[in-house]
Amino acid sequence: MDVKSYNICVQDWADALFRFVCKNTGNEEDARDIVQSSFETLWKKKEDVPMEKGKAFLFQVAYNQSIDLYRKKRKVHLTDTISSPETMKPTNPDLKRILERALKRLDEQARSLILLKDYEGYKYEEIAQITGLSDTQVKVYLHRARKTMKDYLVSVEKII
Protein backbone atom coordinates (compact mmCIF):
# COMPACT_ATOMS: atom_id res chain seq x y z
CA MET A 1 0.00 0.00 0.00
CA ASP A 2 1.09 3.57 -0.57
CA VAL A 3 1.12 6.51 1.79
CA LYS A 4 -2.40 7.50 0.87
CA SER A 5 -3.76 4.01 1.64
CA TYR A 6 -1.90 3.96 4.92
CA ASN A 7 -3.48 7.25 5.95
CA ILE A 8 -6.90 5.86 5.04
CA CYS A 9 -6.24 2.92 7.36
CA VAL A 10 -5.41 5.35 10.13
CA GLN A 11 -8.64 7.25 9.63
CA ASP A 12 -10.78 4.11 9.34
CA TRP A 13 -9.35 1.75 11.95
CA ALA A 14 -7.59 3.76 14.64
CA ASP A 15 -10.71 4.06 16.80
CA ALA A 16 -11.76 0.42 16.40
CA LEU A 17 -8.26 -0.79 17.14
CA PHE A 18 -8.07 1.42 20.20
CA ARG A 19 -11.40 0.09 21.51
CA PHE A 20 -10.28 -3.50 20.98
CA VAL A 21 -6.98 -3.06 22.76
CA CYS A 22 -8.50 -0.92 25.49
CA LYS A 23 -11.12 -3.55 26.34
CA ASN A 24 -8.49 -6.25 26.06
CA THR A 25 -5.86 -4.71 28.30
CA GLY A 26 -8.16 -2.69 30.53
CA ASN A 27 -5.69 0.22 30.40
CA GLU A 28 -6.02 3.21 28.07
CA GLU A 29 -2.38 4.20 28.19
CA ASP A 30 -1.24 0.71 27.29
CA ALA A 31 -3.87 0.63 24.57
CA ARG A 32 -2.58 3.93 23.10
CA ASP A 33 0.96 2.64 23.01
CA ILE A 34 -0.12 -0.60 21.37
CA VAL A 35 -2.14 1.25 18.74
CA GLN A 36 0.77 3.51 17.88
CA SER A 37 3.10 0.57 17.74
CA SER A 38 0.70 -1.33 15.50
CA PHE A 39 0.50 1.51 13.00
CA GLU A 40 4.25 1.92 13.03
CA THR A 41 4.58 -1.75 12.21
CA LEU A 42 2.10 -1.36 9.37
CA TRP A 43 4.05 1.65 8.08
CA LYS A 44 7.28 -0.28 8.04
CA LYS A 45 5.69 -3.16 6.19
CA LYS A 46 3.31 -1.17 4.04
CA GLU A 47 4.94 -2.42 0.86
CA ASP A 48 4.03 -6.00 1.76
CA VAL A 49 0.50 -5.37 3.02
CA PRO A 50 -2.27 -4.67 0.49
CA MET A 51 -4.94 -2.15 1.32
CA GLU A 52 -7.71 -4.74 1.77
CA LYS A 53 -5.70 -6.63 4.42
CA GLY A 54 -4.70 -3.58 6.38
CA LYS A 55 -7.36 -3.96 9.05
CA ALA A 56 -6.61 -7.64 9.68
CA PHE A 57 -2.89 -6.85 9.84
CA LEU A 58 -3.44 -4.10 12.40
CA PHE A 59 -5.62 -6.28 14.63
CA GLN A 60 -3.17 -9.13 14.39
CA VAL A 61 -0.30 -6.94 15.50
CA ALA A 62 -2.41 -5.39 18.25
CA TYR A 63 -3.59 -8.81 19.44
CA ASN A 64 -0.06 -10.18 19.66
CA GLN A 65 1.16 -7.11 21.50
CA SER A 66 -1.78 -7.34 23.91
CA ILE A 67 -0.94 -10.97 24.66
CA ASP A 68 2.72 -10.04 25.13
CA LEU A 69 1.77 -7.22 27.45
CA TYR A 70 -0.49 -9.53 29.43
CA ARG A 71 2.21 -12.11 29.84
CA LYS A 72 4.70 -9.42 30.81
CA LYS A 73 2.47 -7.84 33.42
CA ARG A 74 0.69 -11.04 34.44
CA LYS A 75 -2.47 -9.22 35.29
CA VAL A 76 -5.09 -10.81 37.49
CA HIS A 77 -8.36 -10.75 35.61
CA LEU A 78 -10.67 -11.85 38.42
CA THR A 79 -11.13 -8.47 40.02
CA ASP A 80 -14.31 -9.53 41.79
CA THR A 81 -16.32 -12.64 42.39
CA ILE A 82 -19.96 -13.48 42.14
CA SER A 83 -20.25 -13.81 45.90
CA SER A 84 -19.11 -10.28 46.54
CA PRO A 85 -22.15 -8.62 48.05
CA GLU A 86 -20.81 -5.09 47.64
CA THR A 87 -20.76 -5.09 43.87
CA MET A 88 -23.83 -7.22 43.24
CA LYS A 89 -26.75 -5.22 44.48
CA PRO A 90 -30.20 -6.30 43.41
CA THR A 91 -31.25 -2.69 43.21
CA ASN A 92 -28.53 -1.96 40.58
CA PRO A 93 -29.00 -4.42 37.72
CA ASP A 94 -26.72 -2.93 35.02
CA LEU A 95 -26.28 -5.47 32.26
CA LYS A 96 -23.46 -3.54 30.66
CA ARG A 97 -21.39 -3.48 33.80
CA ILE A 98 -22.14 -7.13 34.42
CA LEU A 99 -20.98 -7.96 30.95
CA GLU A 100 -17.76 -6.04 31.50
CA ARG A 101 -17.15 -7.97 34.65
CA ALA A 102 -17.93 -11.19 32.87
CA LEU A 103 -15.45 -10.20 30.16
CA LYS A 104 -12.75 -9.55 32.69
CA ARG A 105 -13.22 -12.99 34.07
CA LEU A 106 -11.96 -14.45 30.82
CA ASP A 107 -8.31 -14.99 30.00
CA GLU A 108 -6.53 -12.73 27.56
CA GLN A 109 -6.95 -14.96 24.60
CA ALA A 110 -10.65 -15.75 25.17
CA ARG A 111 -11.35 -12.08 25.77
CA SER A 112 -9.61 -11.16 22.51
CA LEU A 113 -11.74 -13.66 20.62
CA ILE A 114 -14.98 -12.30 22.10
CA LEU A 115 -13.93 -8.72 21.28
CA LEU A 116 -12.94 -9.58 17.74
CA LYS A 117 -16.21 -11.39 17.26
CA ASP A 118 -18.62 -8.92 18.87
CA TYR A 119 -16.89 -5.54 18.25
CA GLU A 120 -15.50 -6.12 14.79
CA GLY A 121 -17.80 -8.86 13.47
CA TYR A 122 -14.99 -11.09 12.20
CA LYS A 123 -15.78 -14.60 11.06
CA TYR A 124 -14.08 -17.59 12.65
CA GLU A 125 -11.66 -17.87 9.71
CA GLU A 126 -10.67 -14.21 9.97
CA ILE A 127 -10.17 -14.47 13.72
CA ALA A 128 -8.00 -17.53 13.07
CA GLN A 129 -5.81 -15.51 10.70
CA ILE A 130 -5.47 -12.65 13.16
CA THR A 131 -4.71 -14.73 16.19
CA GLY A 132 -2.73 -17.40 14.46
CA LEU A 133 -5.11 -20.13 15.71
CA SER A 134 -6.89 -22.73 13.65
CA ASP A 135 -10.59 -22.46 12.80
CA THR A 136 -11.40 -25.28 15.18
CA GLN A 137 -9.45 -23.69 17.99
CA VAL A 138 -11.25 -20.41 17.51
CA LYS A 139 -14.60 -22.19 17.55
CA VAL A 140 -13.78 -24.14 20.72
CA TYR A 141 -12.28 -21.16 22.59
CA LEU A 142 -15.24 -18.95 21.71
CA HIS A 143 -17.63 -21.67 22.80
CA ARG A 144 -15.93 -21.85 26.16
CA ALA A 145 -15.89 -18.06 26.53
CA ARG A 146 -19.59 -17.76 25.75
CA LYS A 147 -20.45 -20.48 28.18
CA THR A 148 -18.36 -18.91 30.93
CA MET A 149 -19.98 -15.54 30.43
CA LYS A 150 -23.44 -17.05 30.24
CA ASP A 151 -22.96 -18.99 33.48
CA TYR A 152 -21.74 -15.78 35.15
CA LEU A 153 -24.73 -13.82 33.95
CA VAL A 154 -27.14 -16.52 35.08
CA SER A 155 -25.53 -16.63 38.51
CA VAL A 156 -25.76 -12.86 38.82
CA GLU A 157 -29.38 -12.94 37.80
CA LYS A 158 -30.08 -15.53 40.40
CA ILE A 159 -28.55 -13.30 43.03
CA ILE A 160 -30.48 -10.29 41.76
Binding site: V10, R19, C22, L99, K123, Y124, R146, K150
Partner: protein, 284 residues
Protein backbone atom coordinates in the same frame (compact mmCIF):
# COMPACT_ATOMS: atom_id res chain seq x y z
CA UNK B 1 -28.59 -32.87 12.75
CA UNK B 2 -29.31 -31.10 16.05
CA UNK B 3 -29.74 -33.28 19.12
CA UNK B 4 -29.98 -32.77 22.84
CA UNK B 5 -26.25 -33.60 23.06
CA UNK B 6 -25.04 -30.97 20.62
CA UNK B 7 -27.76 -28.30 20.70
CA UNK B 8 -25.62 -25.97 22.89
CA UNK B 9 -23.02 -25.74 20.15
CA UNK B 10 -25.68 -24.72 17.66
CA UNK B 11 -27.02 -22.13 20.07
CA UNK B 12 -23.58 -20.52 20.34
CA UNK B 13 -23.06 -20.69 16.58
CA UNK B 14 -26.39 -18.96 16.14
CA UNK B 15 -25.32 -16.19 18.57
CA UNK B 16 -22.04 -15.80 16.62
CA UNK B 17 -23.89 -15.61 13.26
CA UNK B 18 -22.08 -18.64 11.97
CA UNK B 19 -25.13 -20.74 10.99
CA UNK B 20 -26.37 -20.96 7.42
CA UNK B 21 -30.02 -20.38 6.58
CA UNK B 22 -30.71 -24.09 6.48
CA UNK B 23 -29.09 -24.64 9.86
CA UNK B 24 -31.05 -21.73 11.31
CA UNK B 25 -34.30 -23.30 10.18
CA UNK B 26 -33.29 -26.59 11.71
CA UNK B 27 -32.50 -24.86 15.01
CA UNK B 28 -35.84 -23.06 14.95
CA UNK B 29 -37.61 -26.37 14.42
CA UNK B 30 -35.57 -27.95 17.24
CA UNK B 31 -36.48 -25.18 19.66
CA UNK B 32 -40.13 -25.58 18.74
CA UNK B 33 -39.80 -29.20 19.71
CA UNK B 34 -38.02 -28.26 22.97
CA UNK B 35 -39.36 -24.85 24.01
CA UNK B 36 -37.68 -24.89 27.43
CA UNK B 37 -34.35 -24.49 25.59
CA UNK B 38 -35.45 -21.10 24.28
CA UNK B 39 -34.47 -19.55 27.63
CA UNK B 40 -30.98 -20.98 27.27
CA UNK B 41 -30.67 -19.37 23.85
CA UNK B 42 -31.65 -16.02 25.32
CA UNK B 43 -29.02 -16.38 28.03
CA UNK B 44 -26.36 -16.99 25.39
CA UNK B 45 -27.58 -13.98 23.45
CA UNK B 46 -26.98 -11.77 26.49
CA UNK B 47 -23.28 -12.58 26.35
CA UNK B 48 -22.98 -10.73 23.04
CA UNK B 49 -21.24 -7.41 23.71
CA UNK B 50 -23.01 -4.26 22.54
CA UNK B 51 -21.19 -1.88 20.14
CA UNK B 52 -18.75 0.37 21.99
CA UNK B 53 -18.70 3.85 20.42
CA UNK B 54 -17.56 5.80 23.43
CA UNK B 55 -13.87 5.15 22.99
CA UNK B 56 -11.88 7.12 20.40
CA UNK B 57 -8.19 7.35 19.69
CA UNK B 58 -7.05 10.91 20.16
CA UNK B 59 -4.32 12.58 18.04
CA UNK B 60 -4.82 10.49 14.93
CA UNK B 61 -2.83 13.14 13.10
CA UNK B 62 0.29 11.88 14.82
CA UNK B 63 -0.19 8.54 13.12
CA UNK B 64 -0.59 10.04 9.66
CA UNK B 65 2.33 10.13 7.28
CA UNK B 66 3.09 12.81 4.72
CA UNK B 67 3.21 11.93 1.08
CA UNK B 68 6.64 12.49 -0.41
CA UNK B 69 7.02 15.41 -2.83
CA UNK B 70 7.29 14.35 -6.39
CA UNK B 71 10.33 15.37 -8.32
CA UNK B 72 10.03 15.26 -12.08
CA UNK B 73 13.39 14.79 -13.69
CA UNK B 74 13.61 16.03 -17.24
CA UNK B 75 16.27 14.51 -19.40
CA UNK B 76 17.24 14.78 -23.00
CA UNK B 77 14.98 16.70 -25.30
CA UNK B 78 12.47 17.34 -22.53
CA UNK B 79 14.95 19.38 -20.56
CA UNK B 80 15.87 21.30 -23.69
CA UNK B 81 12.23 21.97 -24.48
CA UNK B 82 11.61 23.11 -20.92
CA UNK B 83 14.60 25.46 -21.09
CA UNK B 84 13.37 26.93 -24.39
CA UNK B 85 9.90 27.48 -22.99
CA UNK B 86 11.32 29.20 -19.93
CA UNK B 87 13.49 31.44 -22.08
CA UNK B 88 10.52 32.42 -24.24
CA UNK B 89 8.48 33.24 -21.18
CA UNK B 90 11.34 35.31 -19.74
CA UNK B 91 11.78 37.11 -23.05
CA UNK B 92 8.09 37.92 -23.32
CA UNK B 93 8.05 39.14 -19.75
CA UNK B 94 11.10 41.29 -20.41
CA UNK B 95 9.46 42.82 -23.46
CA UNK B 96 6.29 43.48 -21.56
CA UNK B 97 8.17 45.13 -18.75
CA UNK B 98 10.14 47.22 -21.22
CA UNK B 99 6.97 48.69 -22.65
CA UNK B 100 7.39 52.40 -22.24
CA UNK B 101 4.97 54.44 -20.17
CA UNK B 102 2.91 57.29 -21.49
CA UNK B 103 5.28 59.87 -20.08
CA UNK B 104 8.40 58.37 -21.49
CA UNK B 105 10.83 61.02 -22.57
CA UNK B 106 11.42 60.64 -26.25
CA UNK B 107 14.91 59.93 -27.33
CA UNK B 108 17.08 62.79 -28.21
CA UNK B 109 19.89 62.88 -30.61
CA UNK B 110 22.76 65.14 -29.83
CA UNK B 111 25.36 66.05 -32.27
CA UNK B 112 28.21 67.39 -30.26
CA UNK B 113 31.29 68.99 -31.53
CA UNK B 114 34.22 68.08 -29.42
CA UNK B 115 37.05 70.01 -31.02
CA UNK B 116 35.56 71.95 -33.83
CA UNK B 117 37.62 74.78 -35.16
CA UNK B 118 36.26 78.20 -34.85
CA UNK B 119 34.59 79.38 -37.98
CA UNK B 120 33.26 82.68 -38.96
CA UNK B 121 29.62 82.91 -38.51
CA UNK B 122 27.59 83.72 -41.51
CA UNK B 123 24.38 84.80 -40.14
CA UNK B 124 23.00 86.59 -43.06
CA UNK B 125 20.66 84.00 -44.23
CA UNK B 126 20.58 81.95 -41.16
CA UNK B 127 20.07 83.98 -38.13
CA UNK B 128 20.57 82.18 -34.88
CA UNK B 129 17.36 81.02 -33.56
CA UNK B 130 16.77 79.79 -30.11
CA UNK B 131 16.50 76.09 -29.87
CA UNK B 132 13.09 76.29 -28.50
CA UNK B 133 11.92 78.27 -31.47
CA UNK B 134 13.44 75.81 -33.83
CA UNK B 135 11.81 73.10 -32.15
CA UNK B 136 8.65 74.95 -32.16
CA UNK B 137 8.56 75.31 -35.86
CA UNK B 138 9.71 71.95 -36.84
CA UNK B 139 8.55 69.46 -34.39
CA UNK B 140 5.32 68.07 -33.27
CA UNK B 141 5.09 65.96 -30.25
CA UNK B 142 2.24 63.96 -28.88
CA UNK B 143 2.99 63.56 -25.19
CA UNK B 144 0.96 60.47 -24.82
CA UNK B 145 2.46 58.55 -27.65
CA UNK B 146 4.98 55.96 -26.60
CA UNK B 147 7.54 56.94 -29.16
CA UNK B 148 7.78 60.50 -30.19
CA UNK B 149 9.39 61.46 -33.40
CA UNK B 150 13.11 61.28 -33.25
CA UNK B 151 14.89 64.45 -32.77
CA UNK B 152 18.42 65.50 -33.29
CA UNK B 153 20.13 67.88 -31.05
CA UNK B 154 23.14 69.43 -32.62
CA UNK B 155 25.35 71.05 -30.11
CA UNK B 156 28.53 72.91 -30.74
CA UNK B 157 30.86 74.89 -28.61
CA UNK B 158 29.23 78.15 -29.34
CA UNK B 159 25.63 78.12 -28.91
CA UNK B 160 24.41 79.84 -32.00
CA UNK B 161 21.72 78.13 -33.84
CA UNK B 162 21.64 77.11 -37.40
CA UNK B 163 18.74 78.32 -39.37
CA UNK B 164 19.73 76.15 -42.25
CA UNK B 165 19.37 73.13 -40.10
CA UNK B 166 16.09 74.35 -39.07
CA UNK B 167 15.09 74.58 -42.64
CA UNK B 168 16.39 71.15 -43.24
CA UNK B 169 14.46 69.86 -40.34
CA UNK B 170 11.43 71.56 -41.47
CA UNK B 171 11.69 70.16 -44.89
CA UNK B 172 12.95 66.77 -44.13
CA UNK B 173 11.29 65.89 -40.92
CA UNK B 174 9.27 62.88 -41.76
CA UNK B 175 5.82 62.64 -40.57
CA UNK B 176 4.86 59.41 -38.91
CA UNK B 177 2.88 57.58 -41.44
CA UNK B 178 0.09 56.14 -39.45
CA UNK B 179 0.40 57.40 -35.96
CA UNK B 180 -1.64 60.21 -34.54
CA UNK B 181 -0.81 63.70 -35.69
CA UNK B 182 2.24 65.12 -34.09
CA UNK B 183 1.55 68.21 -32.09
CA UNK B 184 3.75 71.18 -32.54
CA UNK B 185 6.35 71.67 -29.97
CA UNK B 186 6.06 74.72 -27.95
CA UNK B 187 8.19 76.03 -25.23
CA UNK B 188 6.07 74.36 -22.65
CA UNK B 189 6.61 70.95 -24.12
CA UNK B 190 10.24 71.57 -24.47
CA UNK B 191 10.53 72.64 -20.93
CA UNK B 192 8.85 69.44 -19.95
CA UNK B 193 11.69 67.53 -21.38
CA UNK B 194 10.31 66.78 -24.81
CA UNK B 195 12.53 66.44 -27.75
CA UNK B 196 14.80 68.44 -28.70
CA UNK B 197 15.59 69.13 -32.08
CA UNK B 198 17.78 71.89 -31.09
CA UNK B 199 20.32 72.33 -33.68
CA UNK B 200 22.98 74.64 -32.56
CA UNK B 201 25.33 74.12 -35.34
CA UNK B 202 28.02 76.51 -36.24
CA UNK B 203 28.16 79.40 -38.58
CA UNK B 204 29.81 77.91 -41.57
CA UNK B 205 26.97 75.74 -42.56
CA UNK B 206 25.82 78.23 -45.04
CA UNK B 207 28.64 77.45 -47.34
CA UNK B 208 28.02 73.76 -47.24
CA UNK B 209 24.42 73.63 -48.16
CA UNK B 210 22.53 70.48 -47.35
CA UNK B 211 21.48 68.06 -49.96
CA UNK B 212 18.55 69.00 -52.03
CA UNK B 213 15.29 67.87 -50.86
CA UNK B 214 14.75 65.40 -53.64
CA UNK B 215 18.02 63.63 -52.96
CA UNK B 216 17.30 63.38 -49.31
CA UNK B 217 13.88 62.08 -50.03
CA UNK B 218 15.26 59.50 -52.38
CA UNK B 219 17.79 58.41 -49.89
CA UNK B 220 15.18 58.15 -47.27
CA UNK B 221 12.94 56.03 -49.41
CA UNK B 222 15.78 53.74 -50.29
CA UNK B 223 16.85 53.19 -46.75
CA UNK B 224 13.34 52.99 -45.59
CA UNK B 225 12.72 49.91 -47.61
CA UNK B 226 15.85 48.28 -46.39
CA UNK B 227 15.22 48.95 -42.79
CA UNK B 228 11.50 48.36 -42.82
CA UNK B 229 12.09 44.68 -43.25
CA UNK B 230 14.36 44.64 -40.26
CA UNK B 231 11.86 46.52 -38.17
CA UNK B 232 9.05 44.30 -39.32
CA UNK B 233 10.85 41.32 -37.86
CA UNK B 234 11.29 42.91 -34.47
CA UNK B 235 9.16 41.51 -31.68
CA UNK B 236 7.50 44.84 -30.88
CA UNK B 237 4.21 46.52 -31.52
CA UNK B 238 3.48 48.37 -34.77
CA UNK B 239 3.42 51.66 -32.96
CA UNK B 240 6.85 51.16 -31.55
CA UNK B 241 8.08 50.00 -34.88
CA UNK B 242 6.93 53.22 -36.52
CA UNK B 243 8.51 55.27 -33.79
CA UNK B 244 11.76 53.44 -34.23
CA UNK B 245 11.61 54.02 -37.94
CA UNK B 246 11.07 57.68 -37.40
CA UNK B 247 13.90 57.85 -34.94
CA UNK B 248 16.14 56.05 -37.32
CA UNK B 249 15.35 58.49 -40.07
CA UNK B 250 16.06 61.41 -37.81
CA UNK B 251 19.42 59.97 -36.88
CA UNK B 252 20.25 59.42 -40.49
CA UNK B 253 19.36 62.95 -41.31
CA UNK B 254 21.60 64.28 -38.61
CA UNK B 255 24.42 62.06 -39.69
CA UNK B 256 23.98 63.20 -43.26
CA UNK B 257 24.00 66.76 -42.12
CA UNK B 258 27.18 66.27 -40.21
CA UNK B 259 28.76 64.50 -43.07
CA UNK B 260 27.88 67.33 -45.36
CA UNK B 261 29.62 69.79 -43.15
CA UNK B 262 32.38 67.46 -42.21
CA UNK B 263 34.91 69.37 -44.18
CA UNK B 264 34.50 72.38 -42.03
CA UNK B 265 34.12 70.59 -38.77
CA UNK B 266 36.76 68.38 -37.34
CA UNK B 267 36.47 65.74 -34.74
CA UNK B 268 32.76 65.86 -34.74
CA UNK B 269 30.78 63.23 -32.95
CA UNK B 270 27.16 62.37 -32.96
CA UNK B 271 25.78 61.12 -29.67
CA UNK B 272 22.53 59.23 -29.67
CA UNK B 273 20.81 59.46 -26.32
CA UNK B 274 17.57 58.06 -24.93
CA UNK B 275 16.53 60.64 -22.41
CA UNK B 276 19.67 61.07 -20.42
CA UNK B 277 21.09 57.69 -21.24
CA UNK B 278 23.67 57.61 -24.01
CA UNK B 279 22.98 54.88 -26.54
CA UNK B 280 25.94 55.26 -28.89
CA UNK B 281 28.31 57.81 -30.38
CA UNK B 282 29.36 58.32 -33.96
CA UNK B 283 32.71 59.92 -34.40
CA UNK B 284 33.74 61.70 -37.57
Amino acid sequence: MITLENYEEYLILFVDDELSEVEQKELAAFLKQYPHLQKELEDFQKTKLPAATDLHFADKERLLKKEPTKTILLTGWRSLAAAVVLLLIAFAAFKWMKKPSVNLTPPSVEIAKTTAPQQPIITQEKPSVPAETLVKTTRKITPKKPIAPASAYVKHDNKTRQPTTETQHKETTPTPPKTAPVNPINTETVSQGMPLVQTTSEPMQNTTAPMPETEVAKEKRATKKQRSRFLANLFISAEKRQGLAHLRNQVEERVATVKSINENIKNTSVEIKLGSKELFVLNF
